[in-house]
């Protein structure tokens, strides 16, 4: 069985703001689940999910490489064979570290009303596959994420389902940093009032 190819990382090349992003791609099939590199990557994703659930965004920023590219394309419904399923030149997120840091700084103010009171968040991370790259200091990691976001006590919770392709880079002092993330959300029309959260 051949693992389905996943080339979402190449989308960064087509993004208007992804010129600075690392171009490193996966090499070969997914690593065995017993591989030390897979265990580290999976561990990293789970630890990250806890930070995002708790909205500990300053610590989350520390997990991002300085040249991070954080992309969430807009998905569109197109005919089979159209050759594309994202909106050309448009995204929900198309971020570098500066713009992400502004978003985090805003949550730190006392006036980011959309998250005051805060949402109750749960990032469910699953279907993790790790791939080696030609560079021993980089791994490509695919995962599925289901975000449950509940606000207040009147409205139904919002659910966002997405696939992610991450590029992890070995950090100098040990551990891993996120160098690139592409979030392929499964909705063409988002069913949440905004994306004042991260995936």
């Amino acid at each position: 069985m051949t693992a389905p190819t996943n080339t979402t990382g190449t989308r960064a090349v087509g993004s208007p703001l992804g010129g600075h992003a690392s171009r490193i791609q996966r090499a070969g099939r997914s690593l065995p689940f017993s591989d030390e590199r897979h265990l580290q990557a999976h561990h990293w994703l789970v630890e990250e999910a806890y930070l995002l659930d708790a909205q500990r965004y300053d610590e989350w920023l520390d997990l991002l490489a300085d040249d991070v590219h954080y992309l969430m394309p807009v998905r569109v419904t197109t005919a089979l064979g159209a050759g594309y399923d994202t909106s050309p030149g448009m995204a929900h997120f198309d971020e570098n570290k500066y713009s992400l840091s502004r978003r985090v700084a805003r949550f730190r103010t006392e006036h980011a009303w959309t998250e005051d009171p805060p949402s109750r968040l749960r990032h469910h991370v699953t279907n993790v596959r790790t791939f080696a790259t030609d560079d021993p200091d980089h791994l490509v990691v695919d995962s599925a994420v289901l975000l449950y976001r509940s606000r207040g006590d009147v409205r139904e919770a919002a659910v966002i389902s997405a696939g992610r392709e991450d590029l992890l880079r070995r950090a100098r002092g040990g551990g891993w940093l996120l160098a690139r993330r592409t979030i392929m959300v499964d909705d063409a029309v988002l069913r949440t009032q905004n994306l004042a959260i991260f995936l």
């Binding site: 005919a79 448009m90 713009s99 103010t109 980011a112 029309v189 009032q193 004042a196």
Partner: protein, 465 residues
């Protein structure tokens, strides 16, 4: 039961029965009497530049294929097969010479003409039983464009779009005609909010008053250069024709200095000077006002702002266009596009796009706090207590109906319509007064099209764009 006359009377004097923001009965009337005849924005010609390009857009439940035919004409075709009513196009964008119904295989050219009808002779006896010739997907009753913005109306007797827009076209040019080539659109981002559609339209039309409170955080993080959010009250609101908006007051300087202040490069400024009328230039250069948010009745909004996008003093302007597409009385689908002058330098386009993402749209930092308010208003408006509450929307008016400040005289505001400096709810009242005008007028009986009958020689309305 709601006494409609009473509701509309209250709205007209600026007292808003809170339940109109979440009321099934009101929504039914809006569907029939307002969206059944107003001009509704569905897209821009730059989204479908090539023959065969199409996007699918809705006016409430009605799905239209907005397509450019092989002849280059733009049409809006009702997305319903003439046979059994299936959607003939289930993608939201693409390029196609034909649309084939998946049910029985009827097929239509991208100008709407029915060209394929399987077993026409065997099943119908050919033309004698079903006249295929001249049959087309139902065209939108009216379609027209302004600066490439495509509008449709479900009313075949709708006034010409240019007349409908009236003097608001003067302001629309700031957003959509900065050069001879006009804008190109990207997107839309689409998402649903549990809020009534009118709230966003009112907010963009004239609510400068919410900025210092709702948007404090974006000033605090340095996204927005103006040192204090209170700066907003030095701007003016204007209403002209079928739309209105808000402005910021710019620091003293020449036209060029003021356009540079909001981040436009000289190469774009030179084009604006050639493109805009003297009066359009005077609003900026002489009077010192720069357009920001605006709405066209009923549910099209625009925004122009100039945040910092990197860690520097420089700001970058962006333009965004959006519709508040009603889904129900308590739910709205937002379609939000990024717009940029087609002739702008590529680097400007990229940074302007970044500015848009940081400020508005599904992830925009301005937007996030707005929607939180509107969702909460909508859910509270559903109950019986809301029926007892008349919200005061009379800001800018004294009890006797005179205005708190006089309108700007012509020598201080070169634009058409009526403009007031400072906070006021003049534009929200204008918008809701038009809403009331539509809701009180019953619709005439609709003309029906008999498929395959002799009377069905409906011509497809199209425009050159």
């Amino acid at each position: 039961m709601t006494d409609l006359d009473l509701v509309l009377g209250d709205v007209r004097r600026g007292m808003i029965p809170a339940h109109i923001y979440n009321d099934e009965e009101i929504f039914r009337l809006e569907r029939e009497r307002l969206f059944g005849r107003a001009w509704v924005f569905v897209g821009h010609t730059s989204e479908i530049p090539q023959p065969g390009d199409y996007v699918v857009r809705r006016v409430l439940e009605d799905s239209f294929i907005v397509a450019r035919g092989e002849d280059g004409e733009v049409r809006a075709l009702f997305n319903m097969c003439l046979h059994r009513g299936m959607q003939v196009c289930r993608a939201e964008m693409g390029n196609a010479s034909h649309f084939r119904c998946p049910y029985h295989g009827w097929s239509y050219r991208n100008d709407g003409r029915l060209v394929g009808l399987p077993f026409h002779k065997d099943a119908y006896g050919g033309e004698a039983g079903f006249r295929r010739k001249g049959q087309t997907l139902l065209p939108a009753p009216a379609l027209d464009t302004y600066n490439g913005l495509i509008f449709v109306s479900l009313d075949p007797d709708a006034p010409p779009l240019r007349d409908y827009l009236g003097d608001f076209a003067f302001y629309l040019d700031y957003y959509t005609r900065q050069s001879e080539s006009g804008i190109e659109l990207r997107g839309p981002q689409r998402w649903r909010v549990k809020a009534n559609w009118k709230i966003g339209a009112e907010n963009f039309a004239g609510d400068m008053y919410h900025t210092p409170q709702t948007h404090t955080s974006v000033v605090e993080i340095g996204l927005f250069r103006e040192p204090k959010a209170e700066k907003r009250k030095d701007g003016c609101t204007y209403w002209a024709g079928n739309g209105g908006g808000t402005t910021y007051k710019l620091p003293p300087g020449s036209l060029e200095e003021r356009l540079r202040y909001v981040g436009y490069p000289d190469v774009m400024i030179e084009k604006m000077k050639r493109q805009w009328s003297q009066a359009q230039l005077d609003v900026i250069g002489r009077d010192g006002f720069m357009v920001s948010a605006a709405s066209v009745f009923p549910n099209l909004s625009l925004v122009h702002n100039w945040p910092r996008v990197e860690d520097s003093e420089d700001v970058l302007p962006f333009i965004s266009i959006r519709t508040w597409q009603p889904v129900g009385p308590d739910e709205t689908e937002v379609l939000s596009w990024f717009a940029v002058d087609a002739e702008a330098p590529e680097e400007f386009k990229a940074l302007s796009y970044k500015a848009y993402l940081m400020c508005f749209g599904s992830t925009g930092m301005f937007e996030q706090d707005d929607v939180e308010n509107w969702v909460s208003l909508t859910s509270t408006a559903a109950g019986s207590m809301a029926r007892r509450l008349l919200l005061n929307s009379r800001m800018g008016l004294l009890e006797d109906g005179t205005t708190v400040v006089p309108p700007l005289p012509a020598d201080r505001f070169a634009g058409p319509g009526e403009a007031f400096v400072g906070y006021g709810e003049h534009n929200q009242r204008h918008l809701l007064a038009r809403w009331a005008d539509h809701l009180e007028r019953p619709v005439e009986k609709l003309a029906q099209v008999e498929v395959g009958g002799a009377a069905a020689q409906n011509a497809t309305k199209a425009v050159s764009a």
